[in-house]
Symmetry: C2
Subunit: 390 residues, 2 copies
Amino acid sequence: MESAAVIGVGITRYGRITDRSFAEIAFEAAWEAMRDAGVDREGVDLLVVGNVGGWSSEPLPAVTISEYLGLDGNGSMRVEAACASGSAAIKVAADAVTSGQSEVAMVIGVERMNESPVTNVVELIGRAGNYFWEFENFGLTFPAYYALYANSYMQIYGAKEEDLAEVAVKNHYYGSLNPKAYFRQRVTVDDVMKSRYVAWPLKLLDCSPITDGAAALIVTSEGKAREFTDTPVYIRSIGTGTGTSNISRRDDLLGFDAVRKAAREAYRRAGIDPSRPHRQIDLALVHDCFTIAEVMAYEDLGFVRRGEGYMLVKEHQTYIGGIVPVNTDGGLKAKGHPIGATGVGMAVEVVKQLRRAADPQRQVDVRNGVALTHNVGGTGHYAYVAIYSI
Amino acid sequence: MESAAVIGVGITRYGRITDRSFAEIAFEAAWEAMRDAGVDREGVDLLVVGNVGGWSSEPLPAVTISEYLGLDGNGSMRVEAACASGSAAIKVAADAVTSGQSEVAMVIGVERMNESPVTNVVELIGRAGNYFWEFENFGLTFPAYYALYANSYMQIYGAKEEDLAEVAVKNHYYGSLNPKAYFRQRVTVDDVMKSRYVAWPLKLLDCSPITDGAAALIVTSEGKAREFTDTPVYIRSIGTGTGTSNISRRDDLLGFDAVRKAAREAYRRAGIDPSRPHRQIDLALVHDCFTIAEVMAYEDLGFVRRGEGYMLVKEHQTYIGGIVPVNTDGGLKAKGHPIGATGVGMAVEVVKQLRRAADPQRQVDVRNGVALTHNVGGTGHYAYVAIYSI
């Protein structure tokens, strides 16, 4: 089966963006990706936009972006899978080129969350996915949902708040090395511990920020990639999973079945040994919307046994030089989490790393030429796990 | 290039649905499609939901529907391309099976527009697609946008209001023969002319209704289709186009460039002669959100020269027995227009017709075994034209 190939990437700086419109930030990422690929507007025959919206004033983002980019005439659509929208959009574009329906497709992930007041964003996310009963009755926001997971994890496996804080310390460290990251300052375990509680045991510095930003990819088929670039990065597999949208129906609050299913599929298709995936994977970008989420990702992806994920970061095994570097761009925690863009931004980092073109201080030693992205929507409502390779 | 194949179809009755939830109407259509295909829940490995939302209380429709259907674990996403969302979702599923990424995918188009007050729906649609300047300054609603087209068309080509009314007469006639249609009553030109003006020259009976409903398809690859059914219908091509979202930037108000581009692509890929497509096509389902839209569709699709579309329906050439029967299910006008479901509902009709399994009084004489769907988002913001064949 032919793979799709990424031939160009672009990304804005993530942050609170008030000086550019929705279409302008999409343009900034798209333009960088088109220049990177050496593709012009006429060369793109499909635009796939990953965007959630709701807080944005832009209800039909794909057509607005298409027009602003001057792509008029080409096909376009928006794809939404909550916080995994970016990865879902990549899948749509990858399938379009590998099926032969498109020659060159562009994926743009974009979100402008700060258009709405924070309380509005928090409420909209909290209501997402048939949570009406839980949201209305218990007032559960997303930090509160993940706090239930953190609480359960700490209770059952004996992890401490300080252990979760290690994830924030690592990801802020890499954010400090990434000029495109929202947060560039390093933090200590002590800083995290002293930050105010949002939903016990999660504190402000355990949470990813409400973020604006955009990221873009240009993809074509494996067979055509070398016509455009000497450094294509192939999308070897994309595994998908969906989970219940009611937290009260989960078997446990220690990980996500949807991720495990998506990972199994991604590993099988890419020929990765699921019992020791980190032996073949040079780096992983995982969905650390909260610190506990990164710890659970280590376990759901099979980097470590269940209940031992928190040890991995504590022992610096997910720093560069460890068994599998994770979130070398700062992750959702420090780079930021513009939800429709997040999955695309992960792919941008993976492509730069596999090309050995990341910022020098955070370049991974790419031995196998293989990387992983892990993008979760809701609390495991949607899961997309992808394997990239050179 | 391999085609996708439709192996099962299902549809709810369209209308104002107050006794079933969003997930329940999706279930009704999906269940019918699964029974039709002989596929159970475990057999579906990807769910693609066409839905616009905004007026609905359900912000993450794909996961809610997936869970209600018991598809937990399989991948899912929502696809949005305004009123063409259903066709965009079909494209995503078709590409997933022809690329080999999925074996069996389900498409569900669903919309519950009556959850919001009508004024709210009209405002949300009117604001869609960067219309802020036009909407805020001129108060243009969607009927008003299409009224500009009707006005321009009548002015330049000499069509009369009575000519546009003929589209409503035809589509209500076929609606009267379709048990799944919202409006089952026949209307006369006189009825249309006496209905109240919504936006001159468009009257209430020139407009499609705000509608609730769902439709579903099961698709697999051409190579696997006969494992499931003796009557597969193949998706031979899907052409796509995107147009400016500012009406003030259009070259003329007589048709849609995006549709012409999408049609060219669909014809080319399916081997249809673009100069006389109606000689190869047994029937067409077109996007008659307003009567003028169906007239423009005849011309944009090449069934007739520009400026002569209104004659086609006046001379009954788009009734069964004419040169190309159009909207044999009642169209958006009488069957209804639940916007995320509309493109999927068109495919349901096309599949039933090509199987010779439509309601007897409205079964087309399927000689070539070829049919077309034409689904437009906004005023030509998005266009999807597809060719189906047995």
